[in-house]
């Protein structure tokens, strides 16, 4: 993502300046201007009005609380899935493996609205499991379990996609050495694998969390959009906007935007750690380094 530019000289040429202006204008107009205007609009009536819009509206308070509950649950599920799936795909060869890998990407290309509808067709009142769930008095659609399912679906690829390339680059040698020295599966995972993948895992978790907090389409369909009950923060933004309460809507939006900025700062920091580690890995793999006694003879 960040590499050293190789022909810095052309930056001062007319063409170079033109290209830079174009790129800065693109990012400025399309990305920076909207982002800045969230904060300007949110605080246009002063910080007091901003705080009141957030804290004194019980439906908004509930939406904040609901988002802070649903997103972590979905992220936790996807962390467990991501680690398991990456372990499976990066450490074993089995029939159907490449089909499985392409299935990981499906949630990226399915419209969130379509995903939400599919969940309604299964768990909704007229859905496949509708009568069974009604008999058990369990509510999934128009309730928080539906929100968790929809959020988990849209964020499904994010953790596993981060882990697979890193685990494949590291290779299984250290883990095999640990096994041959008598470590059991959990010991291998906690003491060898996890320390190696921790930054990639954190990267995936941060991205998944951002997407989970911000998910709109899938959550909109399964939530029923009930204020004070199933409205998450993004849904609350839309409802306040529809009710012509744009300042309040902007206040909620500004919290989400601040969270997005925080995510980006964390992302840049984590990417720097990842870069350092991959350089260390390369250095360790340099010619002459593969006589390391712990990996000798165990490679594939």
């Amino acid at each position: 993502m960040t590499s050293k530019p190789r022909d810095a000289a052309t930056a001062t040429s007319p063409l170079g300046l033109l290209l830079i202006t174009g790129a800065v204008a693109t990012v400025g107009l399309l990305i920076v201007a909207p982002l800045a205007s969230v904060f300007v609009d949110a605080f246009s009536n002063g910080p007091r009005a901003w705080w009141e819009a957030l804290a004194h509206d019980p439906d908004t308070r509930h939406a904040i609380w609901l988002s802070l509950t649903v997103a972590p649950i979905a992220v936790l599920i996807n962390t467990i899935f991501g680690v398991a799936a990456a372990w499976l795909v990066a450490r074993f060869r089995f029939p159907g493996r490449s089909l499985l890998v392409s299935l990981f990407d499906v949630p990226f290309s399915v419209s969130p609205v379509v995903a939400g509808l599919a969940l309604v067709l299964i768990f909704g009142r007229q859905g496949l499991l509708g009568p069974t769930l009604a008999g058990l008095a369990v509510k999934v659609i128009f309730a928080w379990p539906g929100l968790v399912l929809a959020t988990t679906f849209v964020t499904l690829p994010l953790v596993v996609r981060e882990l697979i390339p890193v685990m494949e680059a590291i290779g299984p040698e250290e883990e095999m050495a640990a096994v041959s020295l008598g470590a059991n599966g959990w010991q291998v995972f906690w003491r060898v694998t996890l320390p190696n993948i921790r930054w990639a895992l954190l990267h995936g978790v941060v991205l998944a969390n951002a997407r989970a907090m911000g998910e709109f389409g899938a959550v909109y369909v399964v939530s029923g959009h009930i204020a004070g009950a199933t409205d998450t923060m993004p849904l609350r933004v839309e409802k306040l906007f529809q009710e012509y309460r744009t300042p309040a809507s902007m206040a909620v939006a500004s919290v989400l935007a601040a969270l997005a900025l925080l995510t980006l700062v964390a992302k840049v920091f984590i990417e720097r750690q990842l870069e350092t580690e991959s350089k260390e890995l390369e250095a360790a793999r340099a010619p002459g380094a593969d006589t390391d006694p712990t990996t000798g003879g165990l490679g594939p």
Binding site: F81, F104, L256
Partner: protein, 285 residues
Amino acid sequence: MNKNPPTSIPTRRVRQRTVLPGFGLSAAITSLMIVGLVVIPLAVLILRAASLGPAGFLAAAWTPRARAAYAVSLGASLAAAIISSLLGLLVAWVLVRLEFPGRRILDALVDVPLALPTAVAGLVYSTLYVEKGWLGQILVPVGIKGAYSRLGIVLVLVFVSLPFAIRVVQPVIESLDKDTEEAARLLGASKSQTFLRVVLPGILPAVVTGFALALARALGEYGSVVFISGNMPFKTEIAPVLIVSRLEEFAYAEATAIAVVLLGMSLSMLIVVNVLQQRLARNAQ
């Protein structure tokens, strides 16, 4: 073909490759999630649509309003993907090849659309481009309506798809061999000839992949578009918005049929992306 007992083949193949534990557990968790959350729901969606029968499916999925929605969705997404690819190529090129103050900040800002909730993007874009907004003040008097119009849909779709177009092309520009470009220049090629004949063939697969990713992302987008499009049937209503409004009328059959058409479009994009990426990987070797 050897005649081993068929049941022992898969496990033996696995065990022979590695001594690592955890195959069973990780396979169980992975298949539970993939089958339970992806395969079954999408299969149920398709079966529901299939149960309408060919005539019923067509009657539900091919109404004039639905056709108009597909046209708006496809048209706006194609326009957005083309704009994103061109702007993405420009930004990626500048980020890799030119050194200037603030380059790293620009690089980080490119990811904003990935982290910013789409509802926030839609809300802000619509307030920016309405008559009284920052940009609307200037643009609306000149006749450019960026809110409650098709242009508005294209704008937010460019916003959500731009990072994909940039991040796919960026590493490929980084890996380009600069010596070839220098050789072309030394042999008398002009700057534009070098770009068109030497650079472009190398990065074209990546640009096309970025285009396909941007298109797939734009086709499914909902959150940002509902804010800015005005959602007028036959004019600014996209397919995902139509699905939601059918669902709110409890017209499940129609919503499902339209969803299957949209799913077909997105999955074919996924296949295109996969084929392109394989070709890209082959070219890189």
